[in-house]
């Protein structure tokens, strides 16, 4: 993987600096892929900046130099959307309780609750887990969000559920 990427101006997010999914091309191999990134006009606005050439204009003949920080390559993260769909499908008809056994975790969670930071150990666990996943596995959450949206807007599934 090189330290120089290209993208089209039409793919850029409206607000630089925000985390976003961006289609980029590796300038060396010309491989085209999507990644979770942050972009900025200046390199010192990012932790680990690489060059990002942004092409623009009707024939993409205008080139502007930006900087990009790769957080998580969507494809390379190996998100198996079929697996996600199956799990989401199964979840519709099973319990949503997550079990885990840990004296240490329970003590820490109860501390957070009894010190007034969360209403319950379950609320604390949900909040902390999602925050951690958003930081470490943004592509997974994004893929799941898209799968969940599909499920919520599937009229065929709704019709079949009603028949059952």
């Amino acid at each position: 993987m090189s330290n120089h990427y290209l993208t089209s101006e039409e793919h850029l997010p409206e607000e630089p600096g925000t985390e976003t999914t961006l289609q980029i091309t590796d300038a060396e191999t010309k491989r085209i892929f999507e990644a979770r990134v942050r972009i900025a006009r200046e390199p010192d606005e990012l932790t680990d900046p690489s060059r990002l050439t942004v092409v623009a204009g009707p024939h993409e003949s205008v080139r502007k130099e930006w900087y990009v920080e790769l957080l998580d390559e969507v494809d390379a993260a190996g998100i198996n959307e079929d697996l996600l769909r199956r799990l989401a499908d199964e979840q519709a008809s099973t319990s949503n309780i997550i079990n885990t056994r840990s004296n240490d975790l329970k003590v820490v969670l109860r501390y957070l609750v009894e010190s007034g930071q969360y209403e319950s150990t379950a609320a604390a666990l949900r909040k902390i887990a999602f925050e951690q996943l958003a930081t470490e596995r943004p592509a997974l959450l994004e893929a799941y969000e898209s799968v969940r949206t599909e499920f919520e807007s599937d009229p065929l599934r709704d019709a079949l559920s009603e028949r059952e």
């Binding site: 289609q23 191999t29 010309k30 491989r31 085209i32 009707p58 024939h59 993409e60």
Partner: protein, 500 residues
């Protein structure tokens, strides 16, 4: 005898001194295309790059293998089909039309007998980027395979439909295919498979035998099969073999076959690309997604590519040569079959696909308009902008003869006809319309519209006589020939092989 594989074609080029093999390392990143463009511009031999830097396979890149020579663009194609090497343009067309008139059914062979199955990769072993696809022009949206035959299902033929559609490589298993609605395979995808929300199985065949490549550049009507016309061209059946992951049949001698599905409702960026009009052509378009399921290939596959854009203004690459040598004879045959009194329909080789010269009789008033209407509403719908009609005895292969007819017979007041003002479909790759005028470029079903035109450069009566008396011309030629000058120097009559 016609060659029966792409590598046999390269051997035949080498035998004729028309192949330049590069043993030293060359990069797929602009270098191979730059060398090819130089060869194209200098009318040099066809370059074959045996050692591609940073390639995981031992593939050989071949730059514009079907480019014809400057003066006689049909010669290499004729040799590949086992025809005589000294044919005039008219004789070459007559020979191809004769073969197309005798199509032959293909033959299905078992997988072990198919050279294209020497290496088979499926599932997780599939890696498109292990091949040295060229990055052709600075500013292209990606690396391309742009000299390939796309095999797709055909509702009316068991042999499938073959056509030419370039693809831009994205990653290990995905590419975008340039499918422009209005053409047969794109219409099948957009209006049948995608409407049913079904993936369309396809196979991209790279380095097919020449007869396959030529037939894929022809406009074969529904109900007929490119495979049978390829058999006619080579005077032998084309061997086909089943795909690994679909029911499609692909040419068995192919160098490389990429099997997969065009997914419904999914798009990837395609372009910009240095297109055949000679300019970097943007913006990037959203084109159907080709999901790869399997790759099969010969060992050390020969991978051809075309430096599009180097052909404008000259006859200088594979696609412009294939227009003249494959699309032209096919169109001539098709127009005659449709009842038109056409001698030859020939792409004006300096403009790639946009201008055609049609040498024709004009049996009744309104005939030329009828002929133009037929082509503009069928196979010429997307790419052709205008025709130059000349008399049947004007040599359409001879630029001087055509320009002479144009200058002498086309009256600007009466003979320039605009056709279907701003109502005719136009390929959105054209450079003279802005993206707004094309009404968006995000789908293959472009709404681009323009006018078409034709120029009537036929005589309205008696042909204007040349200055010199014909007997005097003949005597002058005889004297010059006695002095040792070849007949080819005399121009149009002799170039058609009509020397006395």
């Amino acid at each position: 005898m016609a060659v029966d594989s792409f590598r046999a074609y390269l051997d035949r080029l080498a035998d004729g001194g028309d192949l330049a093999e590069f043993e030293a390392g060359v990069s797929w990143d602009l270098e191979a295309s730059a060398i090819t463009m130089l060869a194209n511009q200098r009318d040099g031999p066809i370059p074959a790059f045996r050692s591609i830097a940073e390639s995981e396979t031992d593939a050989v890149l071949v730059g514009d293998p079907y480019r014809g020579s400057r003066e006689r663009p049909w010669d290499r194609i004729a040799r590949s089909l086992g025809m005589a090497s000294d044919l005039s343009g008219a004789d070459y067309y007559a020979a191809v039309i004769d073969r197309l008139s005798s199509p032959r059914e293909p033959r299905v062979v078992d997988r072990p007998a198919a050279p294209c199955k020497e290496v088979v990769k499926t599932g997780g072993d599939v890696d498109l980027l292990s091949f040295p696809w060229p990055y052709i022009h600075q500013g292209d949206g990606g690396r391309y395979s742009n000299l390939q035959t796309l095999v797709a299902p055909a509702p009316d033929s068991e042999w499938g439909r073959w056509s030419s559609h370039r693809m831009m490589l994205h990653d290990e298993t995905q590419a975008s295919l340039l499918l422009l609605a209005g053409e047969q395979v794109p219409n099948l995808y957009y209006y049948q498979y995608e409407r049913r929300d079904q993936p369309m199985p396809v196979a991209a065949v790279i380095g097919a035998e020449p007869a396959v490549e030529y037939s894929a550049d022809m406009w074969i009507p529904s109900g007929r099969s490119e495979a049978t016309f390829a058999g006619g061209l080579k005077e032998e059946p084309v061997d086909l073999v089943p795909c690994e992951t679909s029911d499609l049949l692909v040419p068995a001698s192919a160098e490389l076959v990429i099997e997969g599905r065009v997914l419904p409702g999914e798009r990837l960026d395609e372009g910009p690309f240095g297109d055949y009009f000679g300019y970097m052509n943007g913006p990037r378009r959203s084109m159907p997604t080709f999901e790869i399921d399997a790759i099969t290939h010969r060992r050390a596959p020969r991978v051809p590519f075309c430096v599009e854009g180097s052909g404008v203004g000259y006859d200088r690459n594979s696609s412009s040569t294939l227009e003249v040598t494959a699309a032209g004879p096919d169109a001539t045959l098709g127009l005659r079959a449709a009842g038109f009194d056409v001698e030859f329909a020939v792409p004006w080789r300096f403009t790639s696909r946009t201008v055609w010269v049609i040498a024709t009789n004009c049996p009744y008033p309104g005939y030329l308009h009828e002929l133009a209407n037929f082509i503009f509403t069928t196979w010429g719908m997307l790419h052709i902008d205008f025709f130059v009609f000349v008399d049947a005895d004007v040599d359409p292969f001879d630029p001087r003869a055509v320009l002479t007819a144009f200058a002498l017979e086309a009256d600007p007041d009466e003979d320039f006809h605009q056709f279907g003002v701003e109502r005719m479909p136009k390929v959105p790759l054209n450079i003279y319309q802005t993206p707004d005028e094309k009404e968006g470029a995000d789908v293959g079903t472009s709404k681009a519209k323009t006018a078409k035109a034709y120029v009537d450069a036929t005589t309205d009566g008696e042909r204007i006589r040349r200055h010199a008396d014909e007997e005097l011309r003949k005597r002058a030629r005889a004297v010059i020939r006695e002095a040792g000058v070849s007949g080819a120097e005399f121009g149009s009559d002799e170039s058609r092989g009509e020397t006395e």
